[in-house]
Structures are given as C-alpha cells and as structure tokens.
C-alpha cells in the first residue's frame, strides 16, 4: 500500500550563507501492506515524526520516492497533497489537535464539510460514528470540556469520518494515562480488524508497539525492520 524508497532529508539551521545541514533521514526504505498495523519506534529526535510529516505531504523530502497505491505522492504540489490527504489519510496526533471553536460533533464533521458533503448526510455519518466510538453523550462538548481520552476519541473519529484507507498516528497515546491508553489501543485494533484500516503508528511505547503486526526502528535517521532494543 505504501512504499518508501531511498528517502533522505536534512534540515538547514543557522543564518543564510553559514547554514548547517543536519541530516535527519538517511536512505529510508519501508513498506506498509494493506490492512496492517505498522509501528515505528525510536529514540526522541531520531526522525520518526519527520518521516511521518513527509509521508503526509506536510513537507517535501530532499530526495526519495513515496508511492501510495501506486501513486507517486512525493511529487505532488500543496494543493494535490491537501486533496490526497482529505481522501486517503486520517490523522491522529499526540496532542489531539482539535479545533477549539468547534464542539466534538462539529470537529468530527469538519472533514466532511471540506469534502463538500450535504448536511443531512454529514449528520447521519457523524451520529453513527459517534455512537461507534462512544462519544454520543459528550458530542456537544467543546475540546476544553473533554478529558484527554475523550479528546483522542474525537480526533480518531475525525480521522475515520471520511473512511480513509490509511491512518497516520504520531504518538497517539503519548498524552494519556495507561488505562486510557488501553482503551485507545483497543479501539485502534478493532478498527483495524473490523474495518480493515491500515495504521502507521509512531510511538516510543512498548505496549503500543506490541499491538502492531510489524515494527520498524528508527535510529539516527536510519530505519530498520524489527525491534532493535538498544535504539528504543
């Protein structure tokens, strides 16, 4: 489903003329199969988020190729990227990233609005999904009126609402206590099993990594399959 080949990226820091190049990704290759949960573990600062950002099209890689279902996304411009994200990806972030001015229901509804779907259809879809993730009770709450676990459920619902084939998650349980983490992991697993959604989960949490079918380890910008103990 996702194939990444020879991905390199480095950040420039410092003033113009005297800038330093800091390599963050070095010849990264990996693939994700349909219906898999793949997790990427690694130390802080090893380049996990950077990889995910490039995958999502938030920024362009220095070199390398990304193909999603045979479509080369690494050559997309900003507009194409946005369109592609809307139709193919759902996102789950560590700090939820909900719209503070919208309540739980409206936050979940937002991607459908972006897709230009009629109100009646939107409401029906959101209602069904809210029931599925157990948020119906709190759907009128604004993000600051929700617990962390509830917020993450809202953000998962928002990621799911457009029925994307792939969900990209960056430390989805990073801000949650272990009990809530368990709930979220169960939800992810059931979504994977019942709906066949592919997950790419970045984490430095063992327990999260264990829910995955396959694990990659990032170490200083190099990605290897399997758990490399000293790298975590």
């Amino acid at each position: 489903m996702i194939t990444v080949k020879g991905l390199n990226h480095s950040f420039k820091i410092g003033k113009k003329g005297k800038e330093k190049h800091i390599p963050v990704l070095r010849d990264v290759n990996f693939d994700v199969n349909d219906g898999e949960i793949v997790s990427i573990v690694g130390k802080s600062g090893s380049g996990k988020s950077t990889l995910l950002h490039i995958l999502a099209g938030f920024m362009a890689p220095e070199s390398g190729e990304i193909k999603v279902n045979g479509i080369e996304t690494s050559i997309f411009n900003e507009t194409d990227n946005a369109e592609f994200r809307l139709n193919n990806y759902g996102f789950i972030f560590q700090n939820f990233q909900l719209m503070p001015g919208l309540n739980a229901f409206e936050n979940v509804e937002l991607p459908l609005k972006l897709k230009g779907i009629e109100k009646a259809e939107r409401q029906e879809k959101v209602n069904t999904l809210m029931k599925y993730v157990g948020l119906t009770e709190v759907q009128d709450h604004y993000p600051n009126e929700l617990s962390g676990g509830q917020q993450q459920r809202v953000s998962i619902a928002r990621a799911l609402i457009t029925d994307p084939p792939i969900i990209l998650a960056d430390e989805p349980t990073g801000s949650l206590d272990s009990e809530t983490e368990q709930e979220i992991l169960l939800l992810i697993q059931s979504l994977n099993k019942n709906r066949g959604i592919t997950f790419v989960i970045i984490t430095h949490d063992d327990e999260v990594a264990q829910t995955a079918n396959r694990v990659y380890t990032m170490h200083d910008g190099e990605l290897k399959e399997g758990v490399v103990q000293h790298a975590i």
Partner: protein, 434 residues
C-alpha cells in the same frame, strides 16, 4: 467545501471576536459614509445648478434658425425622436399700436401654439392660457409700459422711476390693437379686439422686460387679411423681412440627455441650431472633475479605514495559526483557506458599506433639511431667492462607486493576511501552543 458551509465558517469566526470585528466595521462604515456624503455634495450642487439656475425649459431647448422657416417645417420637427414639443413663435414684423382703456402702448404680437407651449410649461404669473382666437396672454411688463396720452406726447414730466404705467388688474380686460405697415403708417380700420386671459411670468433675467402680446396662431390669417386690405406696400419690398411674420422655432427634448442627439439631427437636416448643451458640456466637465476630486478625497478615508481591516485580519490569522494548520493537515486546500479569510474581510467591507449607505442617506436628508435653514438664517433672508437648493444628492451611481471602492479596498487589505494564512506551515502550526 460548500459555499453555505464557508459562510457558516466565516460567521462562526466573526462571532468569536465580536468587539474587534465591530470596531473594524465601524471604521469601514465611517470611511465609506465620509466618501458618500462628501461626493453627494458635488452631486447636489451639480443638480441644483442644472435644474434650477438653468431653468428646465432652457436646458432642453434647441433654437432653430432658418430663413425659410414655416409651420410645416416646424411640424416636421415633432417627428424627431425624443422631441417633446415644438414651439413656433411667429412674431409680427410690422408696426402695431395698443389701446388699453385710455392708455396707449407699443407691443409686439407673438402668435404661438399654446398646446405646444403648455407641454413645456409656459409660465404664467396669473390667469390661464388662451383657448379662443381672441384671447391673449400679455407679457409681465405689459401694464408697466402703457402710457397716457399726455405722457406719450411729453406733456408730463417723467418721475425718478419712469412713468407709472397701468397698475390695475389685467386679467379679463379687453383692449384693441391697431396694425400698421413696415413704414410705420397705421391702418385706419380693422382693429383687433383682444381679451387678456393671463399674464406671463417675468423673464428669468431681471433686466429683461416682456411686453409682448401672446396670441393663438389661429389669429395669423386674420392679421394677414387686415394687412392686405389696408396697404399697397408689397411684403417683398422690405429688405429685412420677407414675411409678415418672423418664425422663431424652439424644439424641446424630453430630457437633457437627448438634447445632443436632437441637435445633431437638426444640424444634419441643414438647420442652424443653438442649444445650451455646448455650455452644459463645459459645466459637466467641471462638475465631473469636482466629483472625481471629492471621491478621491473620500477614498483616502476608506484607505485609512483599510488599515484597520488589515490589522484585524492579520491578528485573526496569527490567532488561528494552529487552527489553520489543523485544517490544512486534514486536507483543506490553500485556496480554501485564502477564500475563507478573503470572505471575512469582504464581509467586513460589505457590512461597513451597507451601514455607510444607510447612514449617508440619513445624513443627506438631514443636511438638505437643516442646511438651508442655517444658510438662510446666516444670510438673514427669507429664502434662497426661490431656488430649491439641494446640498446633497446620493444617486445610485455614487452608491455603486462607493461600494465598489470600499469592498475592493476591504478585500485588497484582507488579501495579504489571507495569503499569509495559506503560507502557514502545517508542522510549525501544529507545534504552536494555544
């Protein structure tokens, strides 16, 4: 995203910062209202001058000179498009002598068509327009220039202000007119017996006098018969006047805009014409410049208010950096982000403009009501010389111009912040703390 959802989105954002948006709308309103009210003075004065100082009738009047003029040709003019009336005033060229009660006068006879005169508003001071052949309207100075026999013969001293003339009532009175030939010899018989049914309003220019006798054109054959019966002087013998009557034709356009076209048609037909459009053209150029100048000054006020819009929108974008980042992350295109912010600044512009139009009409009405009172009080006069002065007029064109300027300026000043919003980097935006 559907348009109604976009509107919804913008509305939600605006309602989150009501006070700030309100202040910005207020600034936009003030700028636009200033422009409209300022320019409306230009429109008001222009209108007052074209409508009042050049009287309605004069503005649409086209005078036609032709040596071979006749009623038939004049009738042809009526067929030209947009002609509302054709007045053919036929002036009797030879001598006349008026006898009114015991007084005498020397008054020109003007035969005209009162139906046509009525169409363009023959102004009467009193009475009505003639309906029968022997009914006439006399000029405003008819009575003033009548002399008694002693006065006419120089047997009485003329006072400071000239002779008194006849000061009594004219309407309903009868008088007679004796005709003469071109050499000044009066005919002994066949006097015209005429009845005064109206007195014309005084000429617009104070130093003009009007002592004419306005009769119906149907009196012309009678006059011609009298002339032929009383004199052997051949009409053609007189070098200046080939005819007993001199035709003075005036064509009236139905409105000012059509004067030019009719003037051209008449010229093309080979007539010598004069209309006030030549002078009006210059006046129009002057007022066009004046209005453009006022609109320019008003636009500066709008530009100042646009700083407020720029500021508000820049703050809005900065405040919402993270939200914009989230929107982009979940798949909002940069174009949509830009459109949403442009819509917000356009909304400020549209609301500001709408309020400004309402306020401007209010100010305009109040100004037209209050200013004449103040001005007359300041001048210490009863009225403004009978002139209907409009200080402020807001035609729809001004509303369109002001709205276009105001809304475009709002959108232009919202453009940079909107661009800035599209340039927001998703990764950085998601990192920002609220």
């Amino acid at each position: 995203m559907q348009f109604k959802d976009q509107i919804d989105f913008v509305r939600q954002h605006i309602s989150k910062n009501k006070l700030r948006v309100f202040m910005t709308v207020l600034a936009a309103t003030m700028g636009t209202a200033f422009l409209i009210v300022l320019a409306s003075v230009g429109f008001g004065i222009h209108d007052t001058i074209t409508k009042e100082i050049l009287s309605d009738r004069k503005v649409t009047e086209i005078q036609v000179y032709a040596s071979e003029m006749s009623q038939e040709i004049a009738d042809e003019f009526k067929k030209i498009d947009h002609v509302s009336a054709v007045v053919n005033r036929q002036e009797f060229n030879a001598q006349t002598e008026t006898s009114f009660k015991n007084m005498k006068g020397n008054n020109g006879i003007i035969a005209t068509d009162f139906i046509e005169e009525g169409k363009v508003g023959f102004k009467l001071a009193e009475g009505r327009l003639p309906e029968n052949p022997n009914e006439v309207v006399v000029g405003s100075h008819f009575g003033q220039f009548l002399l008694t026999e002693e006065e006419a013969n120089g047997e009485v001293e003329e006072g400071e202000e000239g002779f008194k003339g006849y000061e009594g009532n004219l309407v309903g009175e009868q008088f007679t007119v004796r005709l003469g030939d071109f050499n000044g010899d009066m005919f002994e018989k066949d006097e015209l017996k005429l009845t005064i049914v109206g007195v014309a309003a005084p000429p617009a220019r104070d130093w003009f006098t009007d002592q004419s006798i306005y009769t119906n054109a149907s009196l012309i054959p009678t006059i011609e018969k009298i002339y032929k019966a009383n004199t052997e002087v051949e009409l053609d013998d007189h070098p200046d006047a080939m005819h007993l009557f001199y035709n003075n034709v005036m064509v009236y356009a139905n409105n000012l805009e059509n004067v030019k076209a009719i003037t051209k048609t008449l010229k093309d037909q080979g007539h010598s014409v004069y209309s006030v459009t030549e002078e009006l053209d210059q006046l129009d150029v002057f007022f066009f410049a004046l209005k453009a100048g006022l609109i320019f000054v008003g636009t500066i006020a709008i530009l100042i208010s646009s700083i407020g819009i720029f500021n508000t929108m820049t703050m809005a974008v900065t405040e919402r950096t993270r939200e914009i980042g989230v929107m982009k992350a979940i798949g909002a295109k940069p174009q949509l982000i830009q459109r949403l912010f442009l819509m917000e600044s356009a909304w400020i512009g549209i609301l500001g403009t709408f309020l400004a139009i309402v306020i401007s009409y209010g100010v305009s009405i109040i100004a037209n009501f209050v200013l004449p009172i103040i001005v007359t009080a300041a001048l210490g006069e009863e009225d403004l010389g009978g002139i209907q002065v409009k200080f402020s007029i807001i035609p729809w064109q001004l509303v369109v111009i002001a709205s276009t300027i105001s809304i475009s300026v709002a959108m232009i000043s919202g453009w940079r912040p909107a661009r800035k919003a599209t340039k927001i980097d998703v990764i950085n935006a998601l990192r920002t703390e609220l």
